[in-house]
């Protein structure tokens, strides 16, 4: 297992999940990452996760097409990468 304070490896792991389109794993790891390294107590990663599952619900119930779902999942992927970029530790 990656050491919890190895920020570089943890980022790489999440990026790998994004690149390989394993978005569910990326979202979960992003929640852990955000909780461990973010100094503020907000819900940015939870919001990403909530949106991700909303997309799955809408796709499953036919409210959006799989093409539309893909575009929105790409946005989720981009938001995950933004979270990784925005975290600053000092």
């Amino acid at each position: 297992m990656i050491a919890p304070n190895n920020i570089l490896e943890r980022k790489s792991e999440i990026k790998h999940f994004v690149a390989t389109a394993k978005l569910e794993e990326a979202v979960r790891r992003c929640i852990d990452f955000y909780r461990d390294f973010n100094n503020q107590d907000d819900d940015a990663a939870i919001l990403v996760s909530t949106t991700y599952y909303l997309i799955l619900i809408e796709e499953k119930s036919g409210l959006i097409t799989s093409e539309q779902a893909l575009v929105r999942k790409q946005q989720i992927a981009a938001r995950i990468l933004n979270i990784l970029k925005e975290i600053q530790i000092n």
Binding site: N5, A19, R28, I31, I46, S49, Y53
Partner: protein, 414 residues
């Protein structure tokens, strides 16, 4: 731009045209080393995502993605700026160093000494000489059936009284008042038989959090967090009976974790899960236990030895009510006198045993499913495999269990 950098970019572009996935990976590494900023790296990752996410992609769109990768390759090479790259790497290094200072807390959550449990109505006698559980650590408890594992877990969770000995909770109860009402609020116990839930699952989680004093906005946030973290969002409106075994366990875990316990005790959580779900659950437990913000001490009993070993920091072994503390998982078998191998083959045991006669002294036995081979330390897995393959033996599976807790189950044969 140096000629070397341009050459490297050209060779990556060649790979991109041939194999976009592989090319994107090479480009990703290239951008990591030579990219002036991180935006290019993110763009590459998003293209990789798109290539992987859609299996039936329109060829024209795929060509566009490939073209974009080629453009990004040129962009990295053309915009290379040694000073900018050095500054980016310097910032990255500073962040790594700052993160390293955040240590995983490992305070002592539970310390048990000389604990015993006897029942008047039976001859069963549980004894554990010493046991320590720390924050951020996973402790695996294994042993044969009916050896006292559940009894031990229930004692540590405060559900059963001790006959003798002492259990302290230095972090949960610093003054050692042993007020079980207070202590149990910080311990979560998930039994093997999961009780059914009434009503909407999300409401049950909210109630559980409020029972632990988490109210108002904090209640909403805590429940939201645990639902999202355990991937339960698609199932919150379902009834208990509609859930699969895997999701029942995940909801039970959610209920246990929503109170933010410092000690999580799980009795055979993997018992009815398929292998994929077992690993997902274990990975989640590991990530949650080793949270820098809210670490948890986890004690988990299981018959799934290899799976538990793969995440446990220390292992316990129970035999006939007696607890043996095996210490750190990585140390198991370090002082062994034999190597031990597990072999699955359709060959009859008699023939299998005969083949082993060619080896330096070894001993084999059949447990009804697999064959086991104990050898001196001078014989390693390669030699056994080479011997079996040289004889043309069909091997269905082979495992070196010399440093596994599994060896404890076969001590009588050694």
């Amino acid at each position: 731009m140096s000629i070397n950098l341009q050459n490297r970019a050209n060779s990556i572009k060649g790979v991109i045209w041939e194999n976009p996935m592989r090319g994107a990976e090479l480009l990703s590494d290239f951008a990591e080393r030579y990219g002036a900023d991180t935006d290019v790296g993110d763009e590459i990752l998003l293209i990789q995502f798109e290539l992987n996410a859609s299996s039936d992609q329109d060829p024209a769109h795929q060509k566009k993605l490939v073209q974009k990768l080629v453009e990004l390759t040129d962009q990295v090479a053309e915009r290379y700026d040694q000073e900018k790259v050095a500054a980016r790497l310097q910032l990255e290094q500073e962040m790594i160093e700052a993160a390293k200072k955040r240590k995983l807390e490992n305070g002592l959550v539970l310390a048990a000494e000389g604990i015993e449990k006897k029942y008047r109505s039976s001859r069963f006698h549980l004894f554990a000489e010493k046991l320590e559980l720390r924050l951020g650590e996973i402790t695996g408890l294994v042993g044969e059936n009916a050896t006292g594992k559940t009894t031990l877990l229930r004692i540590l969770a405060g559900d059963l009284a001790l006959s003798k000995g002492q259990v302290r909770f230095p972090l949960l109860d610093p003054q050692n008042k042993l007020d079980w009402g207070d202590i149990k609020m910080k311990i979560a116990f998930v039994p093997q038989e999961l009780p059914a839930w009434e009503g909407p699952l999300v409401e049950a989680l909210r109630f559980e959090a409020s029972r632990h004093g988490i109210l108002g906005e904090a209640n909403r946030r805590t429940v939201d967090y645990i639902i999202q973290r355990l991937g339960l969002a698609l199932h919150t409106e379902k009834a208990w009976a509609e859930l699969s075994g895997g999701y029942k366990l995940r909801f039970a875990l959610a209920k246990a974790l929503v109170s933010k316990p410092q000690l999580l005790i799980l009795d055979e959580p993997l018992a009815f899960l398929d292998i994929k779900t077992q690993m997902v659950v274990l990975m989640d437990i590991q990530a949650l236990a080793k949270s820098l913000r809210d670490p948890i001490s986890v004690l988990i009993s299981s018959q799934h030895l290899h799976e538990v070993e793969s995440v446990a920091d220390q292992m316990l072994f129970m035999r006939d009510g007696h607890l043996e503390n095996l210490g750190p998982t990585e140390d198991i078998g370090q002082d062994r006198r034999y190597n031990l191998f597990e072999v699955g083959t359709p060959l009859s045991f008699k023939k299998f045993e005969k083949i082993l006669q060619d080896l330096e002294y070894s001993r084999a036995w059949d447990n009804g499913v697999d064959y086991y081979v104990a050898t001196p330390l001078s014989v390693d897995a390669d030699q056994i495999l080479q011997l079996l393959l040289a004889k043309g033996i069909e091997i269905r599976h082979f495992r070196d269990i010399s440093t596994s807790v599994k060896t404890k189950f076969y001590e009588n044969f050694l």
